[in-house]
């Protein structure tokens, strides 16, 4: 009985630790999303639009879920260093020039969490560690 009590206490502690860890992470990701939305409105919306619809042929929409899934690990580089390679979005080729944004890793993470979880995307969490790693592979 005593053993069982200890066992279940330990188990309960472990579960609650895991749980609070998960909620802490969720809280953090939610904060990233909200801050990322602020960054989007201030820095990206002029070109990419309120609903991510883009601006005619000048700026592509950022609503292509297939492209976004495939290229999530490129986003940090694209945003930090700008981008001028033609991109095919929803089957249409765009040849523009995306400006560079000298952002800290944390801001890059927040904007990435936002753009990969809004406008029809649902890619879940992203971390500053992943961003730091992505940035090492910029072309």
């Amino acid at each position: 009985m005593r053993k069982l009590l200890i066992f279940s206490t330990v188990l309960l502690t472990l579960i609650s630790m895991l749980y609070s860890c998960q909620t802490a992470e969720k809280v953090e990701q939610d904060a990233y999303y909200v801050n990322g939305r602020d960054i989007y409105i201030a820095q990206c919306q002029n070109c990419h639009g309120e609903k991510g619809e883009g601006l005619a042929e000048l700026s592509p929409p950022i609503t292509d879920t297939v492209w976004m899934k495939k290229n999530r690990s490129l986003l940090a580089c694209i945003i930090k260093h700008g981008y001028a390679t033609p991109v095919t979005i929803h089957g249409k080729v765009y040849e523009g020039k995306m400006p560079d944004f000298n952002m800290a890793d944390i801001d890059l993470t927040q904007i990435i969490v936002y753009v990969t979880n809004t406008f029809g995307h649902k890619q879940g969490k992203y971390t500053t560690e992943q961003v730091a790693k992505d940035l090492q592979n910029c072309k």
């Binding site: 002029n46 070109c47 639009g49 601006l55 005619a56 042929e57 000048l58 700026s59 523009g96 020039k97 400006p99």
Partner: protein, 185 residues
Amino acid sequence: MRDTKAIKNSDGSAGVDTVYQTIPAFKLLNQDSVYITNEHFKNKIYIADFFFTSCNTICPIMHRNLKKIYGKFADNPDVMFLSHTIDFKYDTPSRLKTYARKLGVDGPKWQFVYGPKDTVYGLATKSYLVSVEADSTDKQGYVHQGYLVLIDKDRRIRGAYDGTNPEQVAQLEKDIPVLLAEDKK
């Protein structure tokens, strides 16, 4: 922008009249490398602004908004558009052409014009009353205001609206038919 002056009414009593700023004669190269002048806007009202094709801050917002108005008046030949580039180094007519095509408005109704720095900056600051400046400390090299300036058939400024402000753009959209109706009288 709008000034008043004291006048004598026809009955001899005193009154005030509005004095509007007038746009002088100009001659500028458009996106088809053709010179255009005020003649192009004769008997039309037009909306003028100052921008540059590589501007990545306020210009996309101004032109996103202006394009909506362009769409609303697409079938009205009395309404025209005139965008002046302030990037005298880079924005040649062919760049303007590409920009117009990409914005989806390449046609005679919306003119994109290029001119020497002094000409365009003079028009902006002295005639349309929009502040523009080449500024080497700015990341993009230019600082300018995002006004959309409404000009009547007599080349007079009848309103200036912040092209990045949705309420002011909505007001511009409402003021256009009013001005058109006034000219019909």
